[in-house]
């Protein structure tokens, strides 16, 4: 527990407090009157209202569309499942600028919907909502699916023997068992959409703004730190309230569940219903996720003879000090380190939180861990700049700062994905190991770990993807000679000209491939399940 607490104190609380304090401090006095002024601003209220409802709707929509996906990925076997599961995570890593482009190709002018039905969503709030689904589909599929695959299917059978139809059995038995995972996923989606930045900025134009966008504008563009600080605090309060509600609802639902080996629960689809569901999910994934991504690939191949890709290997364009292709190495390196940090810190925290004797304080820390998802990246980035500038923590120009910032976002993922599973593990299973002579550490390694292995890999995948795609904080701290892929893409897009654009698309494509391959490799990692005796 001490590890995660220290980590959060130093790399999150301290910088954020520093930057907020800076905004609210006026010479030696405090600027508290600003709070009232900002709150009274109808513009700010409108932003708060928009932020909240679009997040609610996005979350509901995402759950609605992604839960069938979670089922299909958890319980049905079909060829290409692993690849597809990696693919749905790809949107996560893409810089929002690129996603905007991709998404407009689906729902914008001349996009698929336009050509088929003449429907254009790019100027409506629907574009934002759908893009949120696009982004967060994987969150639901992976967090919920991770637990779902391990639920004993016989529970549902028992319900059906008592006269419940398949949907009824699902609703009355599986859903309550999944509730903590669904709540965790919903929480994450809500936090992501509540603090949505890129999507809203690009698809919403200047008319729609979330708090996060407003904070960004106030900090980075207008440089009105006091307004930004107040907004940050509003966001803090809102996020804190959400976390409290979540903690309260989830705690009452967590029960030990009968977990089984996930590899035994997936079956080939049977019956028209399952085939229809599978088809539906595949079509959804194809239209909502694959198609926008394909547009990027297509555009990267526009220049004949892979010219865009070949151009990446030269440093001539002047945008970079090194060939853009080297961004892959940098990104991977950062992502690996960030993932490691996130997994270690998040794993420690999740384990501490599962302990039966975990007190109030520890549980409170649970909510605290989620806060990084609710705090603007720019706030954290600026916070790092002013807080971590003195030895021994003069990290501003140290490369480790980037993975640290990225890990901050990864940790909540790790905790949220692992907790529902860890809490579902029947204590008696641990007891069984203890009476067989296993020490607590060994129990964790031999009983919990194999059961959460899947969740852990999912979480690690997320942490990896988040880190690979993180832009907001990275752009503030990444060093120019080592841009990450998203930073490189953004720089290329920041200049006119066909080859720049082509390279940006090529680099985005590479980013997608890197992400998908990394996730696939990660999912293949298996702690040897059987050969242990």
């Amino acid at each position: 527990m001490a590890g995660p607490v220290a980590f959060f104190a130093v790399f999150f609380a301290y910088p954020v407090v520093a930057i907020v304090g800076r905004g609210l401090k006026d010479g030696d006095g405090w600027h508290l009157a600003r709070i009232g002024q900002v709150l009274a601003d109808p513009g700010v209220r409108h932003v708060l209202w928009f932020t909240t409802w679009q997040a609610l709707v996005s979350t509901a929509l995402t759950l609605l569309i992604a839960l069938p996906g979670a089922y299909v990925f958890a319980r049905l076997d079909f060829p290409g499942k692993q690849v597809l599961r990696a693919v749905v995570t790809v949107p996560f890593v893409l810089p929002t600028v690129v996603v905007g482009t991709a998404f407009l190709a689906l729902a914008g002018r001349g996009g698929l919907l336009d050509e088929l039905w003449g429907v254009r969503l790019d100027t409506t709030v629907w574009a934002i909502l759908l893009a949120h689904v696009f982004f967060n589909y994987a969150v639901v599929v992976r967090t919920v699916g991770g637990l779902w695959a391990q639920l004993d299917p016989r529970q549902e059978e028992a319900a059906r023997m008592l006269g419940a139809s398949r949907p009824a059995a699902w609703r009355t038995i599986t859903l309550p068992a999944l509730a903590p995972a669904v709540a965790a996923a919903a929480l994450m989606v809500f936090l992501f959409t509540f603090t949505s930045f890129g999507v809203v900025q690009i698809l919403g134009g200047p008319t729609f703004a979330t708090l996060e966008v407003e904070i960004y504008r106030q900090t980075a563009d207008v440089f009105d730190l006091s307004t930004a600080a107040v907004l940050t605090m509003i966001q803090f309060v809102a996020v804190g309230a959400i976390l409290a509600v979540h903690a309260w609802t989830v705690r009452r639902r967590e029960t030990a569940l009968r977990l089984v080996d996930a590899s035994l629960t997936a079956r080939r689809p049977r019956g028209a219903g399952q085939w229809a569901l599978l088809a539906g999910v595949l079509v959804t994934v194809a239209v909502l996720l694959v198609l926008p991504l394909a547009v990027l690939v297509e555009r990267s191949l526009d220049a004949p003879g892979f010219a865009s890709y070949r151009a990446l290997t030269s440093a001539d364009s002047g945008v970079f000090l090194v060939p853009p292709i080297e961004a892959i190495g940098t990104s991977l390196q950062y992502a690996v380190v960030a993932t490691a940090i996130a997994v270690v810190i998040g794993g420690l925290a999740a384990t501490a939180l599962t302990r039966r004797d975990a007190g109030r304080l520890v549980r409170g820390f649970d909510a605290l861990l989620m806060l990084p998802l609710g705090v603007s990246a720019v706030t954290v980035g600026f916070g790092f700049l002013i807080a971590l500038d003195q030895p021994p923590l003069d990290l501003r120009s140290a490369w480790i700062l980037v993975p640290l910032a990225q890990a901050l976002v990864g940790v909540p993922f790790v905790v949220r994905t692992m907790l529902p599973v860890l809490r579902a593990v029947d204590t008696r299973l641990r007891e069984a190991a203890a009476v067989l002579g296993a020490s607590p550490w060994r129990v964790w390694r031999e009983v919990d770990l194999p059961l959460v292995r899947r969740a852990l890999l999912v979480a690690a995948g997320f942490a990896f993807a988040v880190s690979l795609g993180e832009f907001g904080a990275t752009v503030f701290i990444a060093r120019p000679d080592n841009p990450t892929l998203p930073v490189a893409v953004a720089r290329l897009l920041g200049r006119p000209g066909e080859t720049n654009y082509g390279q940006a698309m090529a680099l985005s494509t590479i980013l997608m491939v890197v992400c998908a391959v990394a996730l696939l490799v990660l999912e293949r990692l298996r702690t040897d399940r059987t050969g242990e005796f």
Binding site: R22, V97, G100, T101, L104, A105, G108, R109, G110, Q201, I202, G204, G205, P206, T207, R217, T219, A220, D221, V222, F223, R299, A303, A307, A311, A315, S317, G318, V319, L321, E326, G329, T330, Q333, F382, L385, I386, D389, Q390, D394, R396, S397, A398, F476, R479, P480, D481, N482, A490, R491, L493, G494, R495, P496, G497, E498, T499, N500, Y501, G502
Partner: protein
């Protein structure tokens, strides 16, 4: 490739903090390093505005020695926050007088200049047998209805530049002008990337995205970039600029307060307005030099001539009105 953070303390290294658009030829930098004996480290810190803001936040313990990339729209923010220490660069007298600023204290040195202008899609206008607009006045003509896309003046540097251009042109009457512009269907998006890549039909990206606005607020240097960054290069630029819609930006550099290596910083400032760098600059950063004897490459001048009579505004005036204008602009145009 991931060394530690100790480099900045080294007195043989001079650190330049800049924005993402910074670029220079390797040979030119190498030559400077060789002559001066300093190693140059560059920190790119987001876009121009962010670079300045970060510099302000870290002014007690700056990340580098020299900040390059403060333009006239933001200059007051930098100066008011006491970012720079005075230094008059060698050859400062070779800078064209109209670009000089802060003459009494010499806290900043002008380095380059560029114009923010409305760009048009040549093909679209010839297809539609329409003459492209030439001036601010043209833009509110009904025949150009629903053709222009610009950027949010609150969040985007060209957006702000365009606003300042109209303010310079119409004085206190600029809100009237914008009302008409709005009535004429101007579209406002948040950033340049979107405007140029997603909405403007003349750019390479916009063509792919089936963009439908043939007019965009961008830079005078965008047309040459469309030529230079194309493979194969076309003979003429696919886009042009509306000459009467330009606003001139000047970018400055200055020696940061509390710089660890002030001597190196001074040498770097000298270098930035030295002839070699000024000659090299246009094709790297798509800007014009400020030195009166700098040579602009022929290609660059051919596809992207500097505007003849751009709107300009004194940094002091910008400082005095910027926030207020942006605020009224926001409620006028966005609400």
């Amino acid at each position: 490739s991931s060394g530690g953070g100790g480099e900045s303390g080294d007195s043989r290294t001079v650190t330049l903090v800049s924005h993402d658009s910074w670029a220079a030829s390797k040979e030119v930098i190498a030559a400077f390093e060789k002559e001066s004996g300093y190693r140059v480290r560059v920190l790119k810190d987001g876009d121009a505005g962010q670079a300045v803001n970060k510099a302000i936040l870290t002014k007690d313990n700056p990340q580098g020695d020299v900040l390059f990339g403060v333009d006239n729209t933001l200059l007051s923010r930098a100066l008011d926050n006491g970012l720079f220490q005075p230094y008059e660069a060698k050859d400062a007298d070779r800078v064209r007088p109209e670009y000089r600023a802060d003459q009494d204290r010499h806290r900043v040195t002008p380095v380059d200049t560029g114009d923010i202008c409305v760009n048009y899609d040549k093909e679209w206008f010839s297809e539609h047998k329409l003459t492209p607009p030439a001036s601010f006045d043209d833009l509110i003509e009904p025949r150009y209805k629903n053709l222009l896309v610009t950027e949010n003046a609150a969040t985007s540097s060209p957006g702000l530049g365009f606003l300042l251009g109209t303010a310079a042109r119409y004085g206190d009457g600029w809100p009237e002008y914008w009302k008409k512009l709005k009535a004429n269907g101007v579209k406002v998006v948040d950033g340049w990337e979107q405007a140029y890549n997603e909405e403007f039909s003349g750019s390479a990206a916009g063509r792919k995205a089936k963009a439908d606005r043939p007019l965009v607020v961008s830079y005078a240097s965008s047309p040459p970039a469309e030529v230079i960054y194309a493979d194969p290069r076309p003979d003429t630029a696919p886009t042009g600029i509306a000459p009467g819609t330009c606003f001139r930006q000047v970018e400055y550099a200055g020696l940061l307060n509390n710089a660890r290596n002030p001597e190196g910083g001074k040498a770097l400032l000298d270098f930035l307005i030295g002839k070699r760098f000024q000659d090299d600059m246009p094709l790297n950063m798509f800007v014009y030099p400020v030195r009166d004897d700098a040579k602009v490459p022929a290609d660059f001048a051919r596809f992207g001539p500097q505007a003849e009579n751009p709107q300009t505004m004194d940094p002091d005036e910008i400082a005095g009105h910027r926030d207020e204008w942006v605020k009224s602009w926001t409620s006028l145009v966005l609400k």
